[in-house]
């Protein structure tokens, strides 16, 4: 027990007799130290409610998305969001992407990078505190833990207590619920890769692919291990972002901070005592008790802090009770801390060159992607010239080259396309498997790649060497055009 028990205030500290030691505080951080269990207390307030809302929305998106339906016509899975590895397609509502179009995913990742840069420049580690899966699932797991074992003090007592039937029951039921949540997490993940209702049935009847069970098992294990047993260690030791974020924030970026100028000198405060000559911090350690990372925010900004803002709620509650203004712990910037020290008014600068740059880049990338999607070609052509033989000399002296054409039709209906070449005088086309000569019209099958072999015959006087040749396909109905450059080779006399 430390000084927390000595506090005599309206704070509930001594009612519960909490041992509010920050297990990961700066002074107790040691390289050889074993992990100490953290027992976050339930915070109540604006930011806690915000976090509940974020958790519900994000988990809702994760679990519900695969079940959204989208009519894709005959023979295809009617799933709004589907990564179809077997059919090599990615579906996102009205968007359908083929493997060669993964650059849209690249664009999405660039967009996500700028979004996290921007959010960091504005509000510090807001991603870590509210939206990161590690945070969301840890929050959910702590909620379960709290519901079964009680709040901080009850949990601490339970862990210290000798094994009993009630303790065993609580522990077993906690881990059982955790495993169910973990399995549901892994279970939802696989629905993104196959028709959800069918797969759901197959999973329970044992008919799903072994790979499905493997991935469910893998994600069950990682969810259980990361959110249940590792928690803050993931953020502190495994995640690279705390190391990178220093480059993303500047002195105007907001982050959760203890206002040293207002709080110090800290100390216990008896009801009725004067607030003159002392700080507002009554050292009740509520900020420490609610911290899921086990740190003391009053040590200043630190790598372990995920900016979840729960200490703000805890502190505000106490400030209200002792009759001091809220915001002793609040979102603040380094610049403001300096300004206050210098006796100046705090100033919030959300719009500054860095945020304008990030915002502009995001808008640019988004505009680029929307333009790309809006003008996306649904007809494409790849031409592969046969390399053996490089050319064929025919009986009448003319030279023939052979080509494999891949007609890529990305629509859900078959199309008739006319194949034409230009770039070489006097040549004629032959399609060996088609009866038509001259004008070659073939069907490009729906939503697939159609292979056509084309022979190009040039007169004997075409000349040795490589000649440029361009293939074009025209959709006879819509007029869509796709072209592909190739070459025509000819040799000297036999």
């Amino acid at each position: 027990m430390d000084k927390a028990t000595l506090i005599d205030t309206t704070a509930r500290a001594d009612e519960h007799g909490i041992d509010a030691r920050a297990v990961n505080s700066k002074e107790s951080r040691a390289l050889y130290k074993k992990r100490e269990q953290i027992y976050p207390k339930l915070a109540q307030g604006y930011f806690r409610n915000l976090k509940w809302a974020a958790m519900i929305v994000l988990l809702g998106i994760y679990y519900i998305t695969p079940w959204l339906r989208w009519d894709r016509g005959e023979g295809r899975v009617d799933q709004a969001v589907l990564v179809d590895f077997e059919g090599r397609r990615f579906y996102f509502f009205f968007i359908e992407l083929w493997p060669q179009e993964v650059y849209y995913i690249t664009g999405l990742l660039i967009l996500a990078s700028f979004a996290i840069f921007l959010s960091s420049a504005l509000f510090g580690r807001v991603w870590c505190g509210y939206a990161c899966p590690q945070t969301v699932w840890t929050d959910l797991y702590i909620y379960v833990e709290r519901a079964i074992e009680g709040d901080r003090n009850a949990r601490m007592r339970l862990d210290k207590a000798p094994m009993s039937l009630s303790k065993a029951t609580k522990k077993i039921s906690k881990h059982a619920v955790w495993i169910v949540i973990a399995a549901a997490t892994g279970g939802a993940w696989v629905f993104y890769f196959d028709d959800a209702p069918t797969l759901f049935r197959n999973i329970f009847t044992g008919q799903a692919d072994p790979l499905v069970y493997l991935f469910i098992g893998l994600l069950t294990f990682t969810t259980y291990a990361l959110a249940g047993t590792m928690r803050e260690q993931v953020c502190t030791y495994m995640c690279p972002w705390p190391r990178i974020q220093a480059a993303m924030i500047d002195k105007d970026a907001l982050s959760v901070a203890y206002r040293v100028d207002r709080g110090e000198p800290r100390g216990a405060h008896k009801k009725g005592d004067s607030w003159e000559g002392r700080g507002d911090c009554i050292d009740c350690r509520q900020c420490v008790a609610v911290c899921p990372q086990g740190i003391d925010i009053r040590d200043g900004d630190q790598l372990e802090c995920i900016n979840c803002a729960l200490c703000i709620d805890a502190c505000d509650e106490i400030m209200e009770k002792v009759g001091r203004p809220k915001g002793l712990i609040a979102y603040d910037s380094y610049a403001n801390a300096d300004r206050r020290k210098a006796g100046k008014q705090a100033r919030y600068r959300l719009i500054r060159p860095r945020t304008i740059l990030y915002g502009t880049l995001m808008a640019l990338v988004a505009a680029f992607m929307i333009y790309g999607l809006a003008t996306r070609q649904t007809l494409d052509l790849n031409v592969i010239r046969d390399r053996s033989p490089p050319f064929v000399r025919l009986a009448d002296g003319s030279i023939r080259n052979d080509y494999a054409l891949k007609l890529i039709n990305m629509t859900d209906r078959p199309r008739q396309v006319r194949i034409a070449i230009d770039g070489l005088q006097g040549t004629r086309l032959q399609a060996p498997t088609l009866s038509a000569n001259g004008d070659i019209i073939v069907q490009a099958n729906a939503d697939s790649v159609t292979n056509v072999r084309i022979h190009v015959v040039a007169p004997a006087n075409v000349g040795a060497g490589s000649h440029d040749l361009r293939f074009t396909i025209h959709d006879t109905e819509t007029g869509d055009v796709a072209t592909s450059a190739s070459a025509f080779l000819a040799g000297g006399p036999p």
């Binding site: 033989p389 009986a395 002296g397 036999p494």
Partner: protein
């Protein structure tokens, strides 16, 4: 044994060695690592019992599960063969037009043909039927024995100068080696052959020699190659009018062929492949670029295509 030094910070023993004041901690292996290590040893022992493991002389311990990769492969090959059998049966009865009209059958014929061609034909005829001196180009439109699907398939079946009773047989005399013509006469025939071929445009034949050669040609060559040099597929005599030469198109190479009368051998594949595989191979070669339309209906030329089943029971080759 003396007490080893303990590091004051970590409480771990040191190895006792010191390098420039730096001492190494003798940190024990992590428990989880050690247990996995023991589990691996145990798993290895279990594996020895269950699976083939230890070599003994010429054999090995078989393991109680009876696992054998060799048997698995044989079973897989058998399963694949029986799964493909219906397609090969359909293929054996299909004409080019029928194959082309059925995308599934066509794709199967192409894939099977390409695979067999790669294994058995490419060595001589080259990838894609590119050919080589002495080995005909299959991608062009010149056929010594005929380029319809049935004719190609028949050539595949019986071979050329092979050990099949019905093999395609032609024999160009070695006019020089066997002393049938004098070197002077061979030179004259060479000039004439050049003059009646498309090569005349680039090789500039000697007119006087060609005129002398024309007489010799009508005596010695016209019986097979035809009066005008158009060739005759019934005898496997190539056309001399085009500018495509099996043994090379220079003046020296043409002369050399008249001197030596070379002719290659293609094996008869009938005993190696079932009718479906032969049809797939023929279709693949036919599609290389120079394939000719099917012969008129059987009524006109009943004996053109030998019935596959009349040539003895088809063997069961690997494919």
């Amino acid at each position: 044994m003396t007490e080893r030094e303990r590091d004051s910070v970590s409480g771990t023993e040191t190895t006792g060695h010191e390098w420039d004041g730096v001492k190494e901690l003798d940190t024990p292996l992590p428990r989880w690592w050690l247990y996995i290590f023991y589990a691996c040893i145990l798993a290895a022992v279990i594996y020895w019992v269950l699976m083939p493991a230890w070599p003994i002389g010429n054999g090995y311990t078989k393991g109680v599960l009876g696992f054998s990769d060799r048997n698995n492969v044989a079973a897989d090959v058998g399963a694949l063969r029986s799964a493909r059998a219906p397609m090969f049966e359909r293929l054996a009865d299909a004409s080019t037009v029928e194959i082309a009209a059925d995308p599934e059958l066509q794709q199967f014929a192409r894939a099977a043909g390409e695979s067999v061609f790669g294994d058995y034909c490419r060595t001589c005829h080259g990838a894609g039927g590119a050919g080589a001196p002495g080995y005909p180009v299959l991608a062009d439109d010149v056929w010594i024995w005929g380029g319809s699907l049935a004719e190609i398939e028949h050539t595949l079946r019986v071979g050329i100068r092979a050990d099949h009773p019905e093999t395609r047989m032609s024999m160009m005399p070695a006019f020089g080696r066997d002393g049938l013509l004098t070197p002077q006469q061979i030179g004259d025939v060479t000039e004439y052959a050049i003059s009646i071929s498309a090569a005349g445009a680039r090789l500039d034949p000697n007119r006087a020699a060609a005129a002398r050669g024309a007489v010799l040609y009508q005596e010695q060559c016209a019986a097979c190659h035809g009066a005008t040099g158009a060739g005759d597929r019934n005898f496997g005599a190539p056309s001399l009018n085009d500018d495509l030469w099996l043994y090379g198109g220079s003046r020296e190479e043409i002369r050399r062929q008249i001197e030596l009368g070379r002719g290659g051998v293609m094996p008869a594949w009938e005993a190696r492949f079932d009718p479906g595989t032969l049809r797939a191979l023929a279709y693949y070669v036919h599609e290389m670029g120079g394939g000719e339309p099917d012969a008129p209906p059987p009524a006109a030329t009943p004996a053109a295509v030998p019935e596959p089943t009349q040539n003895g029971p088809p063997s069961a080759p690997l494919r």
